[in-house]
Every structure is written in structure tokens, then in C-alpha cells.
């Protein structure tokens, strides 16, 4: 090690530690002002984090709510034919847990006094999950394996009025074959289902021999994801027609679009307010320290040193405030999610660099303006309090 190097290191070491010490002492000595600046930073970062997290998550949350509207995709057999027997398992494989598929088979049966009535075979467990708006007095119990007991039926409200004996078992015939049914409960939807009778898929197939002709699917995900699911369904089921329920998909898109738009406008306004308030607070803070600035200059500090000193201070404040604010913001967003959607908003760590970067930029900006003013002033004037 040469002498020159040692000298340079000696000159360097106290210099850096002095720099750090000045930064720390500045924060400790003016605790009140530093705390209020940090507080402004934390609140601004927290509000920003909350809004960005909410905005990123609102689509997922609303899509979840929208699924209570039921199916958004319908698979029907071509030319009114039944679907192949493995159609449902193929649909289930394609969905892979991202939705519910319900099979429906239909036939027209005759009651004992000659009324025509539509009877549908379906899977009660699945339909109950998909069509949450069905108002049912009592769902049929899962059937035992023995085929001795008569099948249970869910009777539509209007169909119930036609059946001869209310609440008692009844017979229906289809192409000369008769089935004995026990009504389990009454169904009310306000739509076509009210005129129908629903029985389990097994009982229906055993009686009529008709396979499901329709599979209603409530697929979860954004519009693009649902479209992708539809394309895959069309590939695995070439003999069927896969079509979107436009009524549901279009309305979803509109409501979602408007909500996201409003939330974005709100987020922009709030973030802007927070940033401006931060700017004002920090500018006050830097201006307030003009005496430190004057003393440092009077003692011979260079412009570069002064600039880097205030820049380092601003950056440190920005980073510390942003990280604290991020933590609070994530908690706030999770709370809003739980209160409003009954599911916490998942924290997005991709928001963190944006918040930290934004905070540092605002902090540097708010330091830059007072610095420019102070640099033009004479240290002596500042120290005299003018």
C-alpha cells in the first residue's frame, strides 16, 4: 500500500462517517419536524399503496361476485342431439377446477291426468353451486344406491300447481314407461324452470334413456380467460356447439369496466393529492433548515456536497416512509377487501417499487426547489435571519 493510498483512505473515512453522522443527527435533533415529514410520507405512501392494490384486485373480486349470476358458457349437442356420454368428464378436465359445469337432460312427460310437462335430469349438487339464485324449499337428498325407493323430485312452482296431489308422490309417464316420484321441495326462479320438474341424472337416464343435451358452465376468470376456455372446449368436443351466454358476459364486461374506470379516477385523484401534500410538507421541512445549510456553506462545503447531503436525506426519508407506508397500505387494502368482499385483497409486491420510486422522486423534487432558492442566497443573510 503506497503512502498516497493510505492518505486518501484516511481522508476518505472520516469524511463518509461525518456525512452519515450529519444525516442521523439532523433527524435526531429535529425530531418533531422529521417525524411530521416522515408521517406525511407514510400516509401518502399508504394511501397510494391501498389504491393501487385495490385497483389491481377489484377485477378478480368482482369476477368472483359475477359468478353468482350462474353460467356464462353453454354446451349443446349439434342438431338437438344428445351430448356424448363422456362430455361432462371432458368439460370437467378442461375446466380443471376453474368453474362449475352442470348437465341437463330434457324430456316431455305426461302426468296421470294428461298434462304435458317438461322434466329435466340434472346433478343437484352441481346445480346448487352454480345457480345460487334458485329459491328451493328443500333440496332432494342424495339417493341411496338401492333403486327400490322412489326418486325424489324438485318441482317448479308452476308445475306444482298442475300436479294432482300436492306434496304427495305422483306418477309421470314417458313413451309408455312410468316413474314414481316423491316431491322433495318446490323451486322458484321466476323463469322457465318454474314450469319444470327436476330429478337426478341417474333416475332420469334409467327412466327415459336420454343423455344430457346441455351442459351449463360457470367459468371463472376474465373475459379473455373465459374465451380461451371456450376455445379449448370446442376442440375437445367437436360434436357439440359451445357458445357464450352473451347476456351475462357483456353485462359483466360493462359493469366491470365502469367500476374499474371510477376506481382509477379516484386512485389518480387521491394519489395526486397525497403527492402534492407531501411536496408542500417536505418543502417546508427543507426551507426550515436553511440555517444548517448556511452554516455548512460558511464552513466551506461545496455545492456538490450540499446537494448530495440533501438528496441523501430526501432519499432516506422517501425509502423509509414508502416501506412503512406500503406495509400500512397493504393492511388497509386487506381490511377493505375483508369488509367489502369478505375476502382480503392479496398484497401485490409489484406495487412496492412503484411506491418507493414515486416517494423518492417526490422527495427529491421537493428538496430541489428550496435548494435552488437557498443556493442563490448569501449564507450571512440567512444566518442573520433575513
Amino acid at each position: 500500500m503506497t503512502r498516497a493510498q493510505v492518505a486518501r483512505r484516511r481522508a476518505g473515512r472520516p469524511h463518509t462517517s461525518m456525512f452519515v453522522r450529519m444525516l442521523l443527527r439532523a433527524a435526531v435533533l429535529r425530531r418533531g419536524r422529521a417525524t411530521s415529514a416522515l408521517l406525511a410520507m407514510v400516509v401518502a405512501a399508504a394511501v397510494t399503496t391501498t389504491m393501487l392494490n385495490l385497483y389491481a384486485d377489484v377485477e378478480a373480486k368482482l369476477l368472483h361476485e359475477f359468478r353468482s349470476y350462474g353460467a356464462n358458457i353453454v354446451v349443446v349437442g349439434n342438431r338437438d342431439a344428445s351430448l356424448p356420454s363422456d362430455a361432462l368428464s371432458k368439460v370437467d378436465d378442461t375446466l380443471a377446477g376453474r368453474g362449475t359445469a352442470v348437465p341437463f337432460a330434457y324430456a316431455v312427460a305426461t302426468t296421470s291426468d294428461g298434462h304435458s310437462i317438461v322434466i329435466a335430469g340434472t346433478d343437484f349438487t352441481r346445480v346448487r353451486k352454480l345457480n345460487s339464485w334458485w329459491s328451493v324449499t328443500a333440496w332432494p337428498q342424495p339417493e341411496s344406491r338401492s333403486s327400490q325407493a322412489p326418486a325424489q323430485a324438485l318441482v317448479g312452482k308452476r308445475a306444482a300447481a298442475v300436479l294432482p296431489s300436492n306434496g304427495k308422490s305422483f306418477d309421470l309417464s314417458f313413451q309408455g314407461r312410468t316413474i314414481h316420484l316423491i316431491p322433495a321441495g318446490t323451486l322458484s326462479t321466476g323463469a322457465a324452470e318454474d314450469s319444470r320438474i327436476f330429478i337426478s341424472q341417474e333416475a332420469f337416464a334409467g327412466w327415459t334413456g336420454i343423455r344430457p343435451s346441455t351442459i351449463e358452465i360457470g367459468a371463472t376468470g376474465s373475459n379473455a380467460e373465459v374465451t380461451a376456455i371456450m376455445q379449448r372446449l370446442a376442440e375437445v368436443l367437436p360434436e357439440a356447439r359451445v357458445r357464450p351466454l352473451r347476456q351475462i358476459m357483456e353485462a359483466e364486461g360493462r359493469v366491470l369496466g365502469k367500476t374499474r374506470g371510477t376506481l382509477l379516477a379516484a386512485a389518480l385523484l387521491i394519489i395526486l393529492t397525497a403527492a402534492l401534500c407531501l411536496l408542500a410538507t417536505l418543502m417546508g421541512w427543507v426551507l426550515d433548515r436553511r440555517r444548517d445549510f448556511a452554516i455548512m456553506r460558511a464552513l466551506g462545503a461545496s455545492d456538490v456536497l450540499l446537494n448530495s447531503f440533501f438528496a441523501a436525506e430526501a432519499t432516506a426519508l422517501g425509502v423509509v416512509g414508502a416501506v412503512l407506508g406500503f406495509a400500512i397500505g397493504v393492511a388497509l387494502a386487506a381490511w377493505i377487501g375483508r369488509v367489502n368482499f369478505n375476502a382480503p385483497v392479496v398484497p401485490r409486491f409489484s406495487v412496492l417499487p412503484i411506491v418507493v420510486g414515486g416517494s423518492v422522486v417526490v422527495a427529491l423534487l421537493s428538496a430541489a426547489f428550496p435548494m435552488a432558492v437557498l443556493r442563490r442566497a448569501q449564507p450571512a443573510m440567512i444566518l442573520r435571519g433575513e
Binding site: A40, V58, V162, G190, S195, R243, Q247, I270, T281, D288
Partner: protein, 417 residues
């Protein structure tokens, strides 16, 4: 002297006062806009939710059971009861007529087309009707917004029809072609795509279907699209079990149940029911979005309160030497604080008024950009906003004023921190 002090303070320190004033204006503007948007969002989203289609269905009271599978009706067309078309405009005479966005009657009949049986659905497209002195337009274009037409929509008073997409493919029909229905030629105005049973059907003006059926003035069912209030405990109760007072409250709330009740009263021999898929779910979606906006508004108010109070605090902090001088001349704590609070109140009122005007503008812009309609700010909001602005500026200045008042005048005058 007090007034002069405050006045001079504003006159001499224009720049500093302007900064604090701008902060208050901005904060109040954002708060006003957010409150207005949150207040109006329920109504706006409710209208968007109407794109899910009708939420009420009116059918004849004595109707026979519908026997249809996949849109093909197996019931004899003349079977069952009908509603009278002449009764339909009475829907506009119900208590909640302003909440009824639109309605569309339907009359399905079967007819022969090129040797095959097809279902023809008679309806209103956008029919001009009048009730009393009021004229209005209604039909499937309002109640079924997802119906798309290639070509043009037919006029209700003509014999033009729409042909469903799949049926048109099968027949090779294009817009402008002529088809023969029940020995009468009809022009195909457009090709209809709905994604449901209508793709295999012909949709025609109601009159055409009535002629084919031979039942003038008959309607099978009416779809009604209404703006409703999310269901609560009162909505679910049976109106028959209510006392008169409760019944009035129920009747005068736009619940889907009470609108159904009123429709049933308005149209003779009818039964009105909510379409549960649409009616039950819109309440949930609506309350979620409203709740979200409410919480976001709270966040906005927090940010605004912070902006205002920090601006006030900064402004006072910089005037310590002035406080020192006043105290050296014998001013008490109370009178110094009173001057600062008076200044804060004046700033809050000026900034609040300007911010309120700015907030109205902001809310309008948001409404126009996102919903394509105005968001109006209730004038009731003005005093509330002003009160909030004053309270927040007081709260924000209080700590700084206390500190400034307690500061030793000797140090303050020497310019020490």
C-alpha cells in the same frame, strides 16, 4: 385591531396564503368530487346492471304450463291465457314508473317457413307508445341490450322481420331478402344474433305474430326492466302480513317485490314475478361496488385532511418571529391563537368555496368520461364541505398554533429554532 391584523396578514403574505389556499382548494375539490361520485355510483351502476336484461316477468294469471325445450314450444299456440296489449302502457302509470327502464311484450307462435316449422316471436323493437300525456319508446332494444343485428332493426309498424343467425344460415337468407310467412311476404330487415334460442327463430313486430295466431291484441308475457333497490329484511316480508304503515313503506320503496306487486295491480289478470337470476344478484353486486366506493371516499377524505392540515401547519410554523413580537408587546396566548384560528377559518372558507366549485367540475368530468352521463353534486353538500374544511384546518393548525404560542418570544425574535 384584530380584524386589521388578520387583513394585513393576508395582504402582506400573499404567496404563503396562496399556497395554503391552494392546498385547501385542491383537497376540498377532490373530497367533493369523491363524495359526489360515491353518492351517485349506486344509480349509475344500477343502470349498467340493466344490461343483464329484464328483472321482472309478467304472465297471465290463469296461464297453462309452458312446455318448451331449448326455445321450441311444444304447447299448442292458442292454448292458455293471454294478456291484453292495450293494458301494457299502464305500466307507465305505476308508482315507480320512473324506475322502469323499459318493457317488451313477447308472443311466440309457430308457423311454416320453407316447409319447416319455425317459432316466430312477436315483440316490440322500439315502439312508440303513450300513456296519458306522456310519450315513450320501449322494446327489446332497451330490455335485451345484448341482441345484435346485422343489417337494420325493423320498424314496429311495418311487416319487416329479423331472422335468427342459425336459421338464416340454414335457409341462406341475407338482409333485404323476402321470406313468405303464412302466405304473406315479409322483408328480412336484419340477421339477429343473441346466443340463445332466438338464433333459431324469427323475430317480428308483435302485430305480425298476432295476425298469424289470429288473436289480435294478445301478448303471452312481458319482460320488464326496472331499477331496483337491493333487497333487505323488509323487502322479503309478505305484504299481506304487514300493518298499513309498514305496507306503505314497503310499497313506496323500489324493491323488486313491490314493483312486481304494482305491475300486477296495473295489468288486469296478470302475475308479475322477479326473475331471480337477475334480480337477486344485482343487489349483491351493487352493494359491493357501493361499499368499495364508500371506503375509497374515506381514503380520499383522509388524504385531503392530511393535505390541508400539513399546509396549515407549515404556514404557521414559519411565522414564529411574528408570534414572538406579538407576545413581547403583551398579547396573551388566547388572542394570538384567536388570530391564527381566524386566519385558518377564513382560508378554509375561501379555499373550500373554490374547491367545491372545482369538485363539481371534476365530478362532471368523471361522470362524462366513465358513464357518459352527468354526476350532479347536491347543493346540500356545500355547507357540509365547508364545515369539514374548517374543522380540518383547525385540527391541522391546532398543534402548530399551540407550539407557536408556547414558544419563548426571546428565542423567537432572535430567530433561533
Amino acid at each position: 385591531m384584530f380584524v386589521r391584523l388578520v387583513y394585513q396578514s393576508f395582504r402582506r403574505e400573499k404567496r404563503r396564503k396562496a399556497l395554503a389556499g391552494i392546498a385547501i382548494t385542491l383537497g376540498v375539490a377532490v373530497a367533493t368530487a369523491m363524495i359526489a361520485v360515491a353518492n351517485d355510483i349506486g344509480d349509475k351502476i344500477n343502470r349498467e346492471l340493466r344490461s343483464y336484461g329484464a328483472n321482472l316477468l309478467v304472465t297471465p294469471h290463469e296461464d297453462t304450463l309452458d312446455v318448451d325445450i331449448g326455445g321450441m314450444s311444444l304447447k299448442p299456440p292458442g292454448d292458455g291465457a293471454f294478456l291484453k296489449e292495450a293494458d301494457l302502457p299502464k305500466i307507465r302509470g305505476t308508482f315507480w314508473h320512473n324506475n322502469i327502464v323499459g318493457f317488451a311484450p313477447m308472443l311466440p307462435v309457430t308457423t311454416d317457413l320453407a316447409g319447416a316449422r319455425v317459432t316466430l316471436l312477436g315483440t316490440y323493437f322500439s315502439k312508440r307508445l303513450s300513456f296519458g300525456k306522456e310519450n315513450f319508446v320501449t322494446g327489446v332494444r332497451t330490455t335485451h341490450p345484448w341482441w345484435k343485428v346485422r343489417g337494420s332493426w325493423p320498424e314496429d309498424q311495418t311487416g319487416d322481420v329479423l331472422v335468427g343467425e342459425r336459421l338464416a344460415d340454414k335457409l341462406g337468407v341475407k338482409p333485404g331478402a323476402q321470406i313468405e310467412l303464412a302466405q304473406q311476404a315479409h322483408r328480412v330487415a336484419g340477421i339477429l344474433s343473441t346466443g340463445t334460442a332466438e338464433d333459431d327463430q324469427i323475430v317480428a313486430p308483435l302485430m305480425v305474430a298476432q295476425q298469424i295466431l289470429g288473436e289480435p291484441g294478445a301478448v303471452r308475457r312481458v319482460y320488464v326492466s326496472a331499477l331496483t333497490k337491493p333487497e333487505d329484511a323488509l323487502a322479503k316480508r309478505d305484504p299481506k302480513t304487514m300493518n298499513p304503515q309498514l305496507f306503505d313503506r314497503w310499497y313506496c320503496s323500489p324493491y323488486v317485490q313491490s314493483i312486481a306487486y304494482q305491475l300486477q295491480q296495473a295489468i288486469p289478470n296478470s302475475r308479475a314475478e322477479q326473475i331471480r337470476q337477475v334480480a337477486q344478484n344485482e343487489g349483491t353486486v351493487l352493494s359491493r361496488i357501493k361499499g368499495l366506493m364508500l371506503l375509497v371516499t374515506l381514503a380520499a377524505l383522509l388524504a385531503c385532511a392530511l393535505a390541508v392540515s400539513s399546509a396549515m401547519a407549515t404556514a404557521i410554523f414559519e411565522r414564529r418571529s411574528e408570534v414572538g413580537l406579538m407576545k413581547a408587546l403583551g398579547a396573551g396566548h388566547g388572542s394570538v391563537a384567536a388570530i391564527f384560528f381566524a386566519e385558518a377559518a377564513l382560508l378554509a372558507i375561501l379555499g373550500g368555496a373554490a374547491g367545491y366549485a372545482g369538485g363539481i367540475f371534476l365530478a362532471r368530468q368523471i361522470g362524462r368520461a366513465i358513464f357518459g352521463s352527468e354526476i350532479t353534486v347536491q347543493p346540500v353538500l356545500f355547507p357540509i364541505i365547508l364545515a369539514i374544511a374548517v374543522a380540518v384546518s383547525f385540527a391541522g393548525s391546532a398543534a402548530a398554533i399551540r407550539k407557536a404560542v408556547l414558544f419563548d418570544p426571546v428565542f423567537a425574535l432572535r430567530g433561533e429554532p
